[in-house]
Subunit: 213 residues, 2 copies
Amino acid sequence: MAETRAVSNPLALAVLSYLTQRPMHPYELSRTLRNNGDDRSIKFNHGTLYMVVKQLGKAGLIREQQTSREGQRPERTVYALTDSGRQELHDWLRELIEQPQHEYPTFVAALSLLAALPPDAVIPLLRRRSQRLGEEIAQTERLIQTTLAAGVPELFLIEEQFRVTLLHAETSFVEDLIGRIADPETDWATAWAQHHSQQNSEITATEPAADLR
Amino acid sequence: MAETRAVSNPLALAVLSYLTQRPMHPYELSRTLRNNGDDRSIKFNHGTLYMVVKQLGKAGLIREQQTSREGQRPERTVYALTDSGRQELHDWLRELIEQPQHEYPTFVAALSLLAALPPDAVIPLLRRRSQRLGEEIAQTERLIQTTLAAGVPELFLIEEQFRVTLLHAETSFVEDLIGRIADPETDWATAWAQHHSQQNSEITATEPAADLR
DNA sequence: GGGGTCATGTAATAGGTTACATGATTCT
DNA sequence: AGAATCATGTAACCTATTACATGACCCC
C-alpha cells in the first residue's frame, strides 16, 4: 500500500503542522519556522519551502485559500490545510515516531573508513571532536534554559533534550575509542599502526591487499 | 578558502578510500562496497555511484587508467587515485572526524512537532519505537559477532559499535520520555492533553492560537 | 535621500533516484 | 532451451539549492 508519500521532504511535515493552527502564506510559514527554532530540527531553506508548498498543493494536502495584497507589497497567497492534509500529518508523524529509520550520519561514514588514516593521526582528531561536542552540549543546554525562562513549555524543547542525550552518548563513545586506540593492549590498533608504517614498502606483494572484510 | 568540496557526496569518500588499495572499475567498487557492508554506513545506490565517479574524474581526484574488455562483457573503465585524490581523502576524513556536523535525523523532526498529536496517542507509538530499537540493537550486535567470528578485525566494526551506542542512548531517552508524559505530576503533559481535548470547542476565540514559543 | 535589510517570489542549475537497456552466465 | 540473475552502463525524471529580481520600509 503506502507506496511512498506524495511529498517526502520533512519540511512539508512542518508546514502541515503549522497550518493546523491557522491558514498562512509561505512567507509567514517561513518566519514562524525560524522564530520557533524549528530550523534546528528540520532542514530549512527559502527556495525549498516554496517548492514544498507547491507540491503539497498539487497533492491536495493544502489548498489556496485567498490571495490578498497589503499595501504595495507583492501579492501573497494564503494556504489552508485540507482534511486529507490533516490526515497525512497524523499518519506521517505516527510513522516517524513508531518506526526508527536507518540513517547515514556523517560521523558513521567517517568511522567506517577510519582505517584510511594512521591511528596516531586519528587520536588528536578525536580529541578535538570530543571537545567540540562538549561545546555543543553547553550551547544547547543554554538554549534550553533561556527558552524555558521565556515561558515556553518543556513540550517544545524535547528535541533539544534529545539532542543533548545523543551528544553525551557520542562523547562517551569517542572518549572510550581514544582509550582503546591508545591502549597498547589493543591488538587491532597495533596491527593498524603497522599497516600504515609499511605504507612505503610496497615491495611486499605477498599480501595482496585482500579484502579485510 | 575551503569553498566547498568539488564532490560532496559521502559515497565519493568511500570510492577514494577503496582506490587507495588498487585501481578498480565502477562495478567492482560497487561489489566491494556491498561486500564490506559499507552500504550500511554510506548511502549507496547504483546510479549515484556512476555519477560520483564521473564527478571525481572531472575534479581530477581520480583518473581513467585503462579500458579493458573481458570476454563479451561490456567495456569496463578502470580508475586510479591521483595524488590530489589521496590528499582530498585525508583532508576530508580529518574534517569529518574532528568537526561534528549539524544534522537532521527524522526522529528529531518528529519530536519537534510532537505537540500535533495528543499525548495518549504518542505513548503507544513511543512504546513500539522502544521495542523496535531493541530489535535493531540485537540485530546489530549479532552482525558484529558474526563478522568478528569470520576474522575481520574490530577496526572495521567501529561504526557498528557506535550505532549500538546511539541506539542505547535513544532507547533510554524514549523510555524516560514515556515516563515523563505518563506522569501526572508533569504539568506540561497535562496542559498538552487539555489542549487536545478542546480540539472541538473552537468557539473559544479568546485564545488566538498565539505562538506557543 | 541613499544604503541596508525586510518581504516575497521565480528561475536556472546542479544533484540524485528510478527506470531502461542489453549481452552473459547459470540454473532447471 | 527458456527463465532468472549477474554485469554494466546510460538516460529521463524528480528534488533541492543557489542565484536573481524587485518594491517597501527603516535608519542615519
